[in-house]
């Protein structure tokens, strides 16, 4: 019954007072990189059994990969798998043959400076390390009337990679071209956009 119009003008006005501070010093070997439009379709859903290949990603190369071993995380729909732990039991999922773990930290990407002292979770039977469902893992599903899937702001994921390096990730968008005001009825999914910082020095927990 209720139909919505977004207060676009208001948002535009509100954001002019914001600033970001993701400047890193030039001597810093650790760089922020952005992955745009990582496509990770799934079949089924909406009550039907879900399936389809996961789209795998390797932090070291900063790119997607089809390798069965040299991958860190993998995407399908809103689900994210890590290359560590055991099979969860979902259809078409990749073998876990690494020791990847993930820890959730509250903060901005810049404010998370180390992987020291974090507890890393891995995939397990019937349970993903990054929990599925709205408000459990990385996203919030707004339901009626917008039906938007939004990465939960202030959630940073720190990964221990297959090679034993550390990386931190902030998800930016689930919609193609990461529009600042996505429309769930018009913008295509699932196109992941995320920022990450990868420390190339093996075992070094520093993330700044």
């Amino acid at each position: 019954m209720t139909k919505n119009i977004l207060a676009v003008a208001f948002l535009a006005m509100a954001f002019t007072s914001c600033s970001s501070d993701d400047d890193s010093t030039p001597t810093d070997p650790v760089q922020t990189e952005t992955v745009s439009n990582l496509y990770a379709p799934q079949t089924g859903g909406q009550g039907e059994p879900v399936g389809g290949e996961f789209t795998k990603f390797d932090f070291e190369t900063g790119a997607i990969t089809t390798s069965d071993t040299a991958w860190d995380i993998a995407f399908r729909g809103t689900t994210i798998a890590v290359n560590g732990g055991t099979l969860t039991g979902t259809e078409d999922e990749p073998e876990r043959n690494g020791n990847v773990g993930v820890a959730e930290v509250t903060g901005t990407l810049a404010s998370v400076t180390t992987a020291e002292g974090l507890t890393f979770e891995q995939d397990a039977e019937a349970s993903f390390a990054i929990a599925t469902g709205s408000d459990n893992g990385w996203y919030n599903y707004a339901g009626d009337p917008t039906h938007l899937i939004t990465p939960i702001p202030g959630k940073v994921f720190v990964f221990r990679t297959t090679e034993g390096n550390f990386a931190k990730v902030e998800f930016i968008s689930y919609y193609e071209d990461a529009p600042s005001e996505p429309n769930a009825f018009e913008d295509a999914t699932p196109y992941y956009t995320f920022n990450f910082v990868y420390n190339p020095n093996e075992g070094d927990t520093s993330l700044e």
Partner: protein
């Protein structure tokens, strides 16, 4: 807003100056804060409004008639600090001091009405046709009324037949959207016996706020209200009052999904039966024996007329039976002197409440029983000081016993100025839905379970291999759900100044144990299982100011303003600690939310104001009025995933003004013709489905 506030302050300033230079004169009964009116809701005894130590809004019959409004929500929405809100469920309710409809008790002649949709009581269910006055007591009133009276109590007082003659009125009103309102009110008195009969038919063709979407925003509906009342004076000491009320509404509910035109309707039906025996034992002791029964039924059936596939079939059947005995005793009634502890009035009561609900998404019919006792002492320890102290005890079958105390004081500083303050406890019992709901959304696949059935249902789901993992412990689900509760503080001043009066009231309400849904388990389909938990702590605070002013013999002006802050305490703390984030529009990266950007709770406007003009032209038997209402911006829901309303959310509805006006003329002594329009500025928003554009109307009333 700036302008309005300035006008208001100017008005108040003018009052004070005028107060010093003019003799007090009579105020006009049209203005809501009429000083010599008597109200019963605040103390359960008849008390002069001006003498009460509590914040009260009184809306009299004259104001209702002159405004030309026909449903209760319309007239209440014109009062300061009383706002009708359509919440995320799509249902409309009333908000008082920033407190949602769930926590406001609705009474008719002192007995509660039932039948809420997602916690909202739809006030448009009630016609104003036979109302004598509406009494609104703000702040917790559980010390007299028990559950639900946290934010306040709205008591609708129907008209009593006073005269011996046969009298009454008949009216017909037609307006925009084919809105028709018909009233017949009959009253007659004999030596010992009086009766009143009232009938109302109200219908509308509905309206559409969004041409692009299929179907109408509000579908056509018709409703009927019938009310019969009998009064019988058995002897000097005993009198009997009985009332039967019936309400029935049918609304077309057809709509189109995937090019299938579903047809059907939504039906509501309500019965109220109320009997009370008033017993005057002595001049000092009055008792009342009361029996009340009500039944509210709502059903919806939608089906494809060709394939007969049923899209939706739901029903809701709630019953309430409540016997109560109460009495009031005035100590030393024969004594002239009324100052001192020993000269007060003791009011006490005891009752039993039986609730029953049978509805879709409940496994079986559920019952609650509760017993209660209350007492209140109203006295003047000093000549200028009035004290009301009271408490109520509720013993309930489903949750912990509740003890609800309240203390209120009023001190007359000088003949024109009084100060009043009160503090009280309010509670709301967990409702049937929060305890017994068993609902799975068929399209998306999530499940919502009532607290009392959560453990069992969770086990059932586990046996069906639908559960991935349970995120709460069994222990957490075994503790009984607590009643939601609040402590409310009110502190105000009442000022009489020459030809007007001003009331100011500061309020603060601290809520704890608010019940909200939270995830208790994850399902194998990726969705969640929700149940209800006590966890939120919120507060609402602000002030309200009302000023009424008789500018000339024929012109009355009133102005009202409410300032409101409503926040979740935990969320506010989180924001302060930089634990809440928003996304930068340009980079998409998270940044911590500034404290100043936390807007507060949903559906709360910071400012709410009204300005009303009432003008009489006695020579032409004509009356005209104009009411201007303002509501500042408010947000409907979180849009950026951080779980609270901040200035970056996009669901804000901008502040808006509504303008209502009516002109009436009396002719041939018994006839009144009224012409008017609500929402003259034609303000509409797709997100306010309960507000159509301009509603012009013409009404003819015959008084006999």
């Amino acid at each position: 807003m700036q302008f309005r506030l300035a006008t208001l302050l100017l008005l108040i300033g003018t009052h004070i100056i005028v107060a010093q230079s003019q003799e007090p004169s009579v105020t006009d009964s049209i203005l809501s804060q009429e000083l010599d009116e008597v109200i019963v809701t605040a103390t359960r005894t008849a008390r002069q409004l001006s003498s009460l130590p509590l914040p009260v809004t009184l809306v009299g019959k004259k104001q209702i008639i002159k405004s030309g409004t026909v449903r209760l929500n319309e007239i209440l929405n014109e009062q300061t600090g009383i706002i009708t809100v359509t919440d995320e469920s799509g249902f409309q309710g009333v908000q008082i001091q920033g407190i949602a409809s769930d926590y406001i008790l609705i009474l008719i002649d002192g007995v509660p009405l039932v039948g809420r949709s997602a916690g909202n009581f739809d006030l448009s269910r009630l016609t104003v046709g036979n109302i004598k006055q509406i009494e609104v007591v703000k702040g917790p009133s559980s010390s007299l009324y028990g559950s639900e009276a946290l934010g306040g109590v709205i008591n609708i007082i129907t008209e009593k037949p006073e005269k011996q003659d046969f009298s009454g009125n008949a009216s017909y009103r037609i307006g925009s959207f084919s809105q028709q309102d018909m009233n017949l009110d009959l009253k007659q008195g004999f030596k010992k016996f009086r009766y009143g009969f009232f009938a109302n038919r109200f219908s509308s063709n509905g309206y559409d706020l969004n041409e692009d979407a299929e179907g109408q925003t509000v579908n056509p509906y018709t409703n009927y209200t019938l009310n019969g009342r009998l009064y019988y004076d058995i002897n000097d000491k005993l009198s009997l009052f009985t009332s039967g009320r019936f309400y029935d509404q049918v609304q077309d509910a057809g709509f189109t999904v995937d090019s299938i035109q579903y047809e059907g309707d939504t039906k509501e039906r309500e019965w109220n039966a109320h009997a009370r025996l008033d017993h005057k034992w002595t001049p000092a002791l009055n008792m009342a024996y009361e029996l009340y029964y009500t039944n509210y039924v709502a059903t919806e059936l939608l089906a494809d007329p060709i394939s007969t596939d049923v899209l939706s079939d739901s029903d809701f059947d709630q019953k309430l039976l409540r016997p109560e005995v109460r009495g009031s005793y005035t100590f030393n009634v024969e004594d002239e002197n009324r100052t001192g502890f020993q000269y007060g009035t003791l009011t006490a009561g005891a009752g039993l409440q039986l609730d029953e609900l049978d509805r879709t998404y409940f496994e079986e019919k559920v019952n609650f029983t509760s017993q209660y006792l209350y007492a209140q002492y109203d006295f003047d320890p000093l000549e200028k000081l009035n004290v009301i102290a009271g408490a109520r005890f509720d013993n309930h079958s489903e949750y912990n016993n509740q003890f609800s105390p309240k203390l209120a004081l009023r001190y007359q500083l000088n003949p024109n100025l009084a100060i009043k303050g009160s503090v009280g406890y309010g509670f709301k019992a967990p409702d049937f839905r929060q305890l017994y709901f068993d609902f799975t959304n068929s399209a998306v696949g999530y499940t919502v379970l009532g607290y009392n059935v959560a453990l069992d249902k969770l086990q059932e789901l586990e046996e069906q291999d639908q559960i991935l993992d349970v995120v709460v412990t069994e222990d957490e689900l075994s503790q009984p759900l607590e009643a939601e509760s609040s402590i409310g503080y009110n502190l105000g001043l009442t000022l009489k100044h020459g030809v007007g009066n001003t009331e100011i009231n500061f309020f603060r309400n601290d809520f704890k144990n608010l019940i909200d849904t939270r995830i208790i388990a994850r399902k194998t389909n990726g969705q969640n299982v929700f149940s209800y938990m006590n966890f939120d702590e919120i507060y609402t605070t602000g002030f309200e100011i009302n000023s009424a002013y008789k500018l000339t013999d024929n012109l009355n002006i009133s102005a009202g303003y409410q300032l409101l802050y409503a926040f979740d305490k935990q969320r506010r703390e989180d924001v302060k600690n930089d634990q809440v984030f928003v996304r930068d529009a340009n980079t998409g990266q998270s940044v911590a939310l500034a404290t100043s950007d936390y807007f507060g709770l949903v559906n709360r406007s910071r400012h709410n104001a009204n300005l009303k003009f009432y003008y009489d032209i006695p020579s032409a038997n004509t009356h005209a009025n104009l009411r201007v209402l303002y509501r500042s911006k408010y947000a409907q829901y979180d849009t950026n995933g951080n779980g609270l309303i901040d200035n970056y959310d996009t669901s804000f509805i901008d502040g808006f003004v509504t303008l209502n006006a009516a002109v009436s003329k009396i002719f041939y002594t018994d006839f009144t013709l009224q012409v008017g329009a609500n929402n003259l500025l034609d303000y509409t928003d797709n997100n306010i489905p309960t507000m159509p554009g301009i509603q012009a109307f013409i009404k003819l009333n015959y008084q006999f």
